[in-house]
């Protein structure tokens, strides 16, 4: 490769070799763009009740509704254009996935690195708690917390964070524990640099690769978990449907053959989750020194 060779360009050059991973990345970016510009590209604002008409409800794909345009993917039981609802639903799903992912990342990493750096009683207390939580299935924890906190965006994100921070804490702890024992940390502490500086400047940056991998996977998991909770009727309010809620709304109509209400939002959801997972897999392989050529 001609030109500057920074770690980032080298990383990208290697990433580009896997065509499927590149495709997955394109899909992820495209979906984020769709979510960002949902208001501009959707034929209809699905949250504006004045826009909806029950005459248009549950129409099959290709139906020309009272709005005068074609419902490419049909309409849902409230008469929403399904394509618009999917764009807006993507927005909510991605929003929640990212928010839950980043909050869990912050909390989990802080706990994990603190445990590894401080050691002793704090270490065993934190890690005992984390291990205990990891032995519980995430879906059950999230279910319990949503049941306890009630419904709403903040509560949902809280539930997802509580169910997932432990994965970050474990990863950060593992990485930081290994780094902690190395000479450069001892040297930095012997200078002496302050503990805070050592953690922020030396320990944290060296723990980031595995954390990035876990973060991608967990964002996909958050999106999937949110969809599951919404499907069970424990997620978001009905007025602003996420993808899971759209699927749930269509479920009763599936038996009568109105498949599109559930199927298309589900397809969007799966494409998103699978694409994120493929990107995460590729990044993990590139960070894994054992697979290095």
């Amino acid at each position: 490769m001609i030109g500057k060779s920074t770690p980032l360009t080298r990383f990208w050059a290697e990433y580009r070799e896997n065509k499927i991973a590149v495709l997955a990345l394109v899909v992820v970016v495209l979906m984020i763009l769709l979510a960002l510009f949902a208001a501009l590209i959707s034929p209809q604002n699905p949250y504006d009740l004045a826009n909806l008409s029950l005459i248009d409800a549950r129409r099959p794909p290709g139906f020309v509704g009272s709005g005068g345009y074609t419902h490419v993917l049909g309409t849902d039981p409230q008469g929403r254009d399904l394509l618009s609802a999917i764009f807006y639903g993507l927005r909510i799903s991605i929003q929640i996935g990212l928010a839950a992912g980043f909050v869990s990342l912050t909390i989990g990493t802080t706990l994990g690195i603190l445990a590894a750096y401080l050691g002793g009683r704090i270490e065993s207390l934190i890690m005992r708690l984390v291990d205990l939580q990891l032995s519980f299935p995430a879906i059950l924890l999230a279910l319990v917390i949503v049941a306890l906190l009630g419904q709403g965006k903040t509560q949902l994100i809280g539930a997802l964070v509580a169910a997932q921070y432990a994965y970050f804490a474990r990863t950060a702890y593992g990485a930081a524990k290994a780094e902690r024992g190395k000479d450069y940390i001892e040297a930095a502490l012997a200078i002496p640099l302050s503990g805070r500086l050592v953690v922020m400047r030396h320990l944290l940056p060296n723990c980031t690769p595995p954390l990035i991998v876990v973060a991608t996977v967990q964002i996909a998991n958050s999106i999937s978990l949110e969809a599951t909770l919404s499907f069970l009727g424990l997620g978001l309010p009905v007025t602003e449907p996420s993808l899971g809620m759209l699927i749930s709304n269509g479920f009763p109509y599936m038996m009568s053959g109105r498949y599109w209400i559930s199927v298309y939002p589900g397809v969007a959801l799966i494409i998103l989750i699978v694409a994120i997972n493929i990107v995460g897999d590729q990044v993990r392989d590139q960070f894994n020194p054992r697979l290095r050529r």
Partner: protein
């Protein structure tokens, strides 16, 4: 060793105590269940009477005290909605869940291990690559979506299998089971596939990783050098060596599948414990929620306790570490 057992036991009891406090106060802090139990047009007297009867007028800590004393006597309270003892209610639903979970986990293990061994034994064949691709899908596609597609395909479009319910049941020792009747069995198939898919993916990965590792070891080389046939090597040596992690995961997964059954049971209206808890959350039936959570917590704490003990039996380092 005895010290280790006692230490772990005290830890388990502590965890249960903390869980009971969190669950109880958490559940009782939300909503007002009285609005569900009595009709909105009830008089003030009926309302007050119902509140008193359910013990909702007492302070929270007092309610917790009664709850805990009753719990230790095996009484988890009465459901607000069904007006029957919670334990009886959950007990009545448990066979349906157990039936579903056992069938899925056992079939997922057998199928998953066979496919996984094949994929590990011939990692480069296209069959193995297909198996692995399917297992990736099993991991990433949300289970409720798979359930929907199964219903759409096999129940709505093809009409081969029923979409929900338990079908005919047979009473064995006073408990209703679906699997002995053909009709009941046909009702199990779809939810069992749905529930098994994730486990299948996991078992495939586990068996494949184990096989690839073990096929390279000296054990296998010596067995080959001794002139054993490949199928004998697979059956006699490989299977034995990969079975240890698989049995561990099998035990762990049994618990988490019980939790996952919540989703599957809701989709297929399978009248098990999972559906009961979702319905109870919907109508704020607190005693049922509390009892379910406590029972699940108990289940997981017990499983972890047993696994800790087993590991300590196998690996002396674990018990040394605990004492130090």
């Amino acid at each position: 060793m005895l010290g280790f057992i006692i230490q772990r036991f005290i830890q388990a009891v502590l965890v249960m105590a903390v869980m009971s406090v969190i669950v109880f106060f958490g559940v009782y802090a939300i909503g007002n269940p009285i609005d569900i139990v009595i009709p909105p047009d009830a008089t003030q007297e009926i309302r007050a009477e119902a509140i008193r009867r359910l013990g909702l007028d007492r302070p929270l800590y007092e309610q917790y005290y009664y709850f805990i004393t009753n719990l230790l006597q095996g009484d988890l309270g009465r459901s607000f909605v069904y007006n029957m003892p919670v334990l009886e209610l959950i007990g009545g639903r448990l066979p349906a869940t157990l039936e579903l979970v056992l069938i899925s986990v056992i079939s997922a293990t057998f199928l998953g291990v066979s496919l996984g061994i094949y994929a590990g034994y011939r990692p480069d064949s296209w069959v193995s690559k297909t198996i692995m691709a399917v297992s990736v899908l099993g991991f990433s596609v949300p289970s409720f979506w798979v359930g929907l597609i199964l219903i759409l395909f096999f129940a709505v479009n093809l009409g081969w299998l029923p979409a929900g319910g338990r079908g005919e049941t047979v009473e064995i020792w006073g408990v209703a089971w679906s699997f002995p009747t053909l009709n009941g069995l046909s009702h199990i198939v779809l939810p069992a596939i749905n529930l098994a898919l994730f486990k299948l993916a996991m078992m495939i990965r586990l068996a494949r990783a184990g096989t690839r590792e073990i096929m390279l070891t000296d054990t296998i080389k010596f067995a080959r050098a001794a002139g054993l046939s490949e199928s004998t090597i697979l059956r006699r040596h490989l299977l034995k060596l990969i079975s240890i992690p698989i049995i561990t995961v099998f035990g762990l997964e049994l618990g988490s599948t019980l939790a996952f059954a919540v989703v599957t049971e809701t989709i297929f209206s399978w009248p098990g414990v999972g559906k009961l808890i979702i319905d109870s959350i919907g109508v704020l039936d607190r005693p049922v929620m509390v009892a379910y959570l406590i029972l699940v917590a108990f289940l997981f704490v017990s499983i972890n306790f047993v696994i800790d003990l087993l590991f300590a039996l196998i690996d002396p380092r674990v018990r040394q570490g605990a004492v130090a």
